[in-house]
Symmetry: C2
Subunit: 277 residues, 2 copies
């Protein structure tokens, strides 16, 4: 069961017009919202970010907070899974003709729910690999838009190289991963790229920061370089599906001699507590 423009219908019945500007132009935005123990997680924060994305591309939010809450609650109720990942996408809507500029249209709203299966602590402790690449994406990565071809190509390259993620740098500063935020640990300090047009301000990123503070780490939202990573005591990536994942091999070279810094375990445990907030 999925949600499309007011209706709850079977996924294989959910279709849109070829004139939907989401199809023609990638003219839309999206959110991915976890459900933990049957409860929608940090809905207000996700809806705030959605609003920022919509405002940035001049789409009027079709629903109020309460309407979103009701629709998402109803949709997640169709699933028997206690942990879910809600994907919602809003496009500018169906146009009468293909043209780059736009008039005000009725936005298309699509939502689906999928089981959310987090890796266990011991699975995460095995460590993961990543490669670095130049960040060739557009310069408004703060908008969570569906024009995702650059990210798609990185994700495919990661799959082809059998690594977890591609870590991106622009002008020799690490921005984020293709589908994650990036953190490095140096002594007691945890560094991550500051918010702004170069990165998506991840909800999980904020949770990692909160968890790290609870573990008495010193948070530094300051850009760092590839060279800084290789001298770091730890490298982590975060996303709602990965949570806090330690990367122990970058460009085939071990980070911190391939061992996971003890602070990771504390931050992981704090993060698990926040999931049940």
């Amino acid at each position: 069961m999925v949600y499309l423009n007011g209706d709850f219908i079977a996924k294989n019945k959910a279709s849109i017009s070829v004139m939907d500007r989401g199809f023609l132009f990638g003219d839309g935005v999206y959110e991915v919202i976890p459900v933990y123990n049957g409860k929608i997680f940090r809905l207000t924060e996700h809806l705030d970010r959605l609003q920022n994305s919509l405002d940035s591309i001049q789409i009027t939010n079709p629903y109020s907070h309460d309407e979103w809450h009701n629709i998402l609650t109803k949709l997640s109720g169709f699933s028997s899974e206690s942990d879910q990942s809600l994907y919602l996408q809003i496009t500018r809507g169906v146009d009468s003709q293909r043209k780059h500029n736009f008039d005000t249209l009725t936005p298309t709203v699509y939502i689906e729910s999928n089981p959310l299966i987090a890796k266990t602590k011991s699975q995460l402790e095995a460590g993961f690999s990543a490669l670095t690449r130049e960040d060739i994406r557009w310069h408004r990565c703060d908008i969570k838009s569906t024009s995702l071809l650059a990210n798609i190509l990185y994700a495919q390259e990661a799959k082809q190289h059998q690594v977890e993620e591609m870590i991106l740098s622009r002008n020799n500063k690490i921005t984020e991963g293709a589908t994650s935020n990036v953190f490095i640990l140096k002594g007691n300090a945890l560094f991550t790229h500051p918010t702004g047009p170069n990165i998506l301000s991840g909800i999980t990123r904020d949770l990692v920061i909160s968890s790290a503070k609870a573990c008495n780490l010193d948070i530094q939202e300051i850009p760092f370089s590839l060279n800084d990573i290789h001298q770091a005591d730890g490298l982590w990536i975060s996303s709602s599906t990965r949570e806090i994942m330690p990367i122990t091999l970058l460009d085939d070279q071990p980070i911190n001699q391939g061992s996971i810094h003890p602070a990771w375990s504390c931050v992981y445990e704090q993060y698990q507590l926040l999931k049940n907030d």
Copy 2:
């Protein structure tokens, strides 16, 4: 009448699954091909460029040259217009679940035809306005992809400012317009940005170059700056719908005292000859 995945159907019946990666990710490419006097214009060049776009994002071309020719000929035959603009879009296809990386899928092919109404010479001679902006697009503008949100936002800004086009610069070098290529004239020399990842290698761009050669202009595929434009003897933009359009006002300042350089008329006439090739 439009073409969708093998069928010629009414446009309002043409729908795709929400799981089409064109809708979810802007994971597709497109072409716009003119028809002049009932004849498809430069089909081979357009299909070659389409092949480059497809190769760049690892989609297998679903049709041979002859199959494309037959489909496009049949579709254009449904229209009574002698001049048409054929829009064709290929996406990676319908996935079973939303994930950034991809497997091999059956590509989705959508084609529509619209009347192509070129401006008359006297309409063009009136001159047009443009504004300059920083080029915030991704760094593979040579791929004619449907992940077009940056271009959309520029096109809307142009409409809001009642100008014809936004002319973009990256690192102080003019790349191209949001939906056009850009040329400046200095004495007998016509400058345009060289092909490469920063611009789309336009078919019309090539036609302008051929036309300019026929008018004995010296073609210089060399980057130029915003300052170079303001000191230029002429500023033109090109696209299949605009052909060769003179810009006489840039950022509210006149180019060449607001008058159109005599070379424009020669290049315009040569271009008209090429359309009937």
